[in-house]
Symmetry: D2
Subunit: 419 residues, 4 copies
């Protein structure tokens, strides 16, 4: 049979639902009336009560989300969320100390990780232990800049070209307009990309210690308004983001040019560390590393790595970062190579988006996560990015060792055993 | 100057750190002794105390993470995390009802979203309001199957070919070996991919109502062990995962073949709904949609969409899913097309990895999130996947409308105003 | 200056052209009358004369293209081209013998290569010499099937699902309709891909010894007409190719699933061969191989290889293949690994599109190219695919050796010396 | 059965070959002696005779390749190929006039296309006819620069960073070293990309009217040698090309930054032209255009287009370009949009690599191809790039119209009818 079995199986499962016209109506629009929840910007104990009265989800659910502890003063979340009904408690484990010898992060770090996936913390902790035994992870921010890419639409190619010319000639005023909106953001590069009658301006900003996504939106909006007001070439439409910057998604552009901070982290693991701490050998890790690299290539990964997403999501949630940025941050390049008898390991991650101020970093438990790291507040943004990369390196070391030694399945089976 | 300005700027900032040899030593290995935190599998109040005594992060941090409420019985987290030090409280907002006319999800849903990013809930709520006004979102799971891709290494091409032949002839026994490890997992497809001497077996499983990542690892491990024990062709090495399945990363393979559940969700928004609920017009949304599609293509996105990651991360955290899977789930295809005077909108998302049992879904506040949705427990896995896709459709509608109307920046600036 | 220098430089070059409105008109439409060349399907000496009379390109051009030798009987080209004005003479070099130990190709092959790029033949010849010294290249066709992907558009998700159901239930008749159009084509797999209301049917055909692109178009057209005529679900539109099959372009789908023939070719080069024939060392080749693999990854190649396109284009032109298929064929995976003291080298190429019958293979000089190979006519399609992969392996070996030894530039500078 | 049918079918076909050990030996190395063809750099009638005496391919093959006309003076090919045995005659068809209103190309062009694929010339001619009727194609070179990306390997991150610092401080000397090797090449941009201990320098050159691939290799070699000689930081290895520039392959980097010349070409086709010249309607073309765009996205194309490769390969061969560059040139972005009742069509192609001097452009029949175009010799490189893009636009228009109207299959079946 030339149609794949699993397709047939899926179809036979679904088919029943659509035998009759009545069934088919199931997925048609239904315009019977509905009463929407009322939006609430600044939460209060009362607004929570009102929501729960309407949700009909039971008091256990209410107790679990809207507990007295985290919701004593719901207003503390007002700059972070709308329509608040409580908080979800994500368990946080710690690993450490992870020694980092970085251009920005320097010292021994305890790293908080928020996850519900068994084995994650244990696995990263093992990698951190090995890396620290080896003298720690060397790190450097190589590049930085959050991208925003407004789009301008014109009649045709001629006007698009004239607009780019105007932009080049008015770049100082445009930069000033953008930077007038922010104390910390600096426009450090602007590069036009033309597709016939549409011009994308790839704007790169440094954003101080904040992740800076809102900062660059507001600055770019001002830049666009300045252009729209001043430029003599007729603009048909403009958009503050032309979906070209790679914001919150895996893209080749982000991977190539960097978005946020680009960090390399590396360590040379001595043979003895590999054998004792990781219970495998340099040769076995290299053998698997080659297969994993091939698997990455054959499957068309953006980048080539094993599971940055695990460490990043856990760190981002624990420290008040934007977890959606995992989609763009979890991309990069892991390398493992022989150095004599030892093992050189590195990661290069072009899209780390983190901050130590702004966003969710000021909320109590998230701030506490940063405090565990010793990186709360201003002055620590670049260091946090280096911690993120060093952490991912530890995760790569650990999973490659586990795969090489055949321990991967056992660890997961055993640590999730209580379920 | 032919070297980009931002490169020069970055260098001059870093340079100071490496002026002298002493500075340069900063990133060299440092083998001074360090005492690692002791690993703890089953947390207890005592183990938390011991950790906090060592962390030196201050009592405010401890109070925020290890609060009495969420840590009264730390053992409840033992199958979900190691080295527990507390919980991070992620604020949860709600939107709804979102009407879904799905093959699996059918009804009006209140959707909990955990995030620290202002405007996210409000924006998705607006899209949900419009979609519901239009009669709701039609959804269907089109395909399902979690992939795992073990790799087998041989002497050369000949042995690799002979192995594939052996696999085909012994497929029933291999399937039995895999399925003996699980009540819910079924191996529904197995496809070999050969690269000279290395064979990847792309195994696709249905996993019932669980996301199923551990389930497929354990099943595949058994399959591999069976092959290794029974197959007469000499196997040099095998690995339960050859980094080919797209697990927790954006890959072309996942995008093409699906991993987890593939769902389409669509709605036709009447002209009037676009104008009243979204304060823009069909034509303006189509205009921006074309630019956004071009931006996606030019930047080399995997897929073409605006911000699935926002909705997915918020839903995954609120309902106990694996947030790291956002890296693979936040990929797909958004379409907007004219239908007469109205607007057809759809998303197709090939890699939704969710479950209503297993993983973090049983923890109190996560279970509460599922209860708000009305989807806690067995029997709801496919429905939750359809909710995820319907939610992302709402997010796409809202952001496209905001960009089209020029409201995007204002909404973000205003909702994050309290910071 | 934050705008890149080369952008500014480009603009200042172009600006002059648009200083005045008059200049700007240069790129505006110009509707002054024009008289088109008359189309000619079956060329004759007369039709050539008529064209040349209109072209106004001088008699030297005419003599060079429409020479008496190749254009004595222009009608021989009638099934291959329209509007004939002559032939371009592409110089052909030969390398060999290249020893191939293949499932399909077996023996010592002289390989004709048509190119105008100095050093190409010499470089590939060097690789072939080393591979042959090592005992020859092992090859196998791993997979085969030319893809065609018709698209069907429906009202919505429901109808799309019902159509797929209909296809599955009528697959035998659809297969029969397709295969009725061809003696050699067989439909060996059909897989649906749904995006809301659009269904792509990924049809895979074996095509005997022909490359088979027209064969699968005609067969698929018949399949679609059968579906359109018989299927009770209303089809809004259908297209014989939905631009999904990867035909003549680099795509992830082609790279993953194969299009045409997928071939692996490998050789283990003894240390001594590397040192004598390639004037470098195994270690140096591995060192460069790692860098080249990283370069491929960082630049977002589809696949990871150095220059398959060179060998493929030269072989395709010399043997009457469709040179446009280089766009999809020049994708794949080159590996180099230590095997003790020796060097394992392999290529896996998923998209080789070649035939020994049909297309340009029957034209006199193209047929001669196949004769030099010993692969003219029926029965040789798979062997030619293995030759293509073995050839590309030789090219990879040679360029990696040249890069590793620092000879790359010199070879090119010296061989193009006469210009 | 969970293993795909076509995999099983392939295996059963191959299995026979490996039933016995004897058969299995077929793909093992064979070290029996072989006598290689002797290399010949400067061909002569005698060297051709010697080759043919050894090839054993029959006199018909010899007559077809080594005809008196094209091989009267084999030495004319000496700077273009080694081991010459004759020329392959690729039939050339013409289309035109194609009206181009370009920044560089201005006028009505007759375009020679070398191909053996029936329907190609007819199809492109139809598109050209429609575009010319509409007033012609507007074109502009938007960007230019051939990339070369040498790689430098260091001990670690520190040295890599110090090297980049050195490069920035010595950029003038490096630029001078590069440009000293060439009259026409200019280094217009240099951007470092660091991956831990490896530095790629992305060098962008303008190359005058030559395609310039050798020119940039030689210049970059000089730049590297200067760095290796002068830079105080110890360099472990350097390579003139780190496989990062996208040379002769489809890569995200090339697609994003451009390699060679980036050109946009566009035309607005009036409703009447679509209906009369293309026998379809604007709405039907837009309908198919949307499906084709979706197909491109779903299949993971680099870019989104239909068949640039066809026109490019035919033009490149007919005018002495490097046909292997089709692999990188056949990438880009086709757009079709409504403009009132009319149809806006455009292509943007970032990687057009053509020249009117150097390479194969000076050979008699290739020079004749350029003469038919009116673009032989210096001063015409940018114009030729615009012709290439305008040609591809015509091909896109024609194939989209044929697909939309359902004529695609018939045209191919009928024009290849004589086979």
């Amino acid at each position: 049979m030339i149609i794949p079995f699993h397709v047939q199986q899926m179809l036979s499962r679904v088919r029943g639902l659509f035998q009759t016209e009545q069934d088919a109506a199931r997925i048609a629009p239904d315009t019977s009336p509905v009463s929407s929840l009322r939006p609430v910007r600044s939460a209060s104990p009362k607004s929570l009560e009102r929501y729960w009265a309407k949700l009909g989800a039971g008091s256990a659910a209410k107790d679990a989300l809207a507990d007295a502890n985290s919701c004593a003063d719901p207003a503390i979340y007002s700059a972070n969320i709308e329509n608040l009904i409580g908080t979800v408690k994500v368990p946080v484990g710690v690993l450490g100390p992870l020694r980092i010898n970085g251009v920005n992060a320097k010292g021994d770090f305890n790293v908080p990780l928020a996850t519900t996936e068994a084995a994650l913390v244990a696995s990263y902790a093992r990698g951190a232990y090995a890396a620290t035994k080896a003298g720690g992870v060397s790190t450097a921010v190589l590049y930085e800049g959050v991208l925003r890419s407004p789009a301008f639409v014109f009649e045709g190619l001629l006007q698009a070209g004239q607009f780019v010319d105007w932009v080049v000639n008015n770049i100082d005023a445009l930069k000033a307009a953008a930077e007038a909106t922010t104390r910390h953001g600096k426009l450090v590069s602007l590069e036009p990309a033309i597709d016939t009658n549409i011009v994308f301006l790839l704007c790169r900003y440094t954003t101080g210690d904040a992740a800076g996504q809102n900062m660059v939106t507001i600055a770019t909006h001002a830049l666009c308004e300045h252009a729209a007001a001043q430029c003599p070439i007729p603009i048909r439409n403009w958009y503050v983001e032309g979906n070209y910057s790679g914001d919150k998604k895996a893209s080749s552009l982000g991977t190539l040019t960097g978005r946020g901070r680009k960090v390399s982290a590396s360590v040379v693991l001595p043979k003895a560390v590999v054998e004792k701490a990781l219970r495998t050998s340099v040769a076995e890790m290299l053998d698997y590393g080659r297969v994993a690299n091939l698997g990455a290539l054959l499957s068309g990964q953006l980048g080539a790595q094993a599971h940055y997403a695990n460490g990043l999501a856990a760190l981002y949630i624990a420290t008040g970062q934007d977890a959606a940025c995992v989609a763009e941050s979890a991309v990069g390049f892991t390398r493992m190579e022989a150095r004599g008898e030892d093992l050189f390991c590195s990661v290069t991650m072009p899209n780390i988006l983190v901050g130590t101020v702004g966003g969710g970093t000021g909320l109590p438990s998230q701030q506490a996560g940063l405090s565990v790291l010793g990186l709360a507040g201003a002055g620590n943004g670049a260091a946090l990015a280096e911690v993120a990369a060093a952490l991912c390196l530890c995760g790569e070391i650990s999973i490659v060792a586990a795969m090489a030694a055949g321990h991967f399945t056992d660890a997961h089976a055993s640590l999730a055993r209580h379920r």
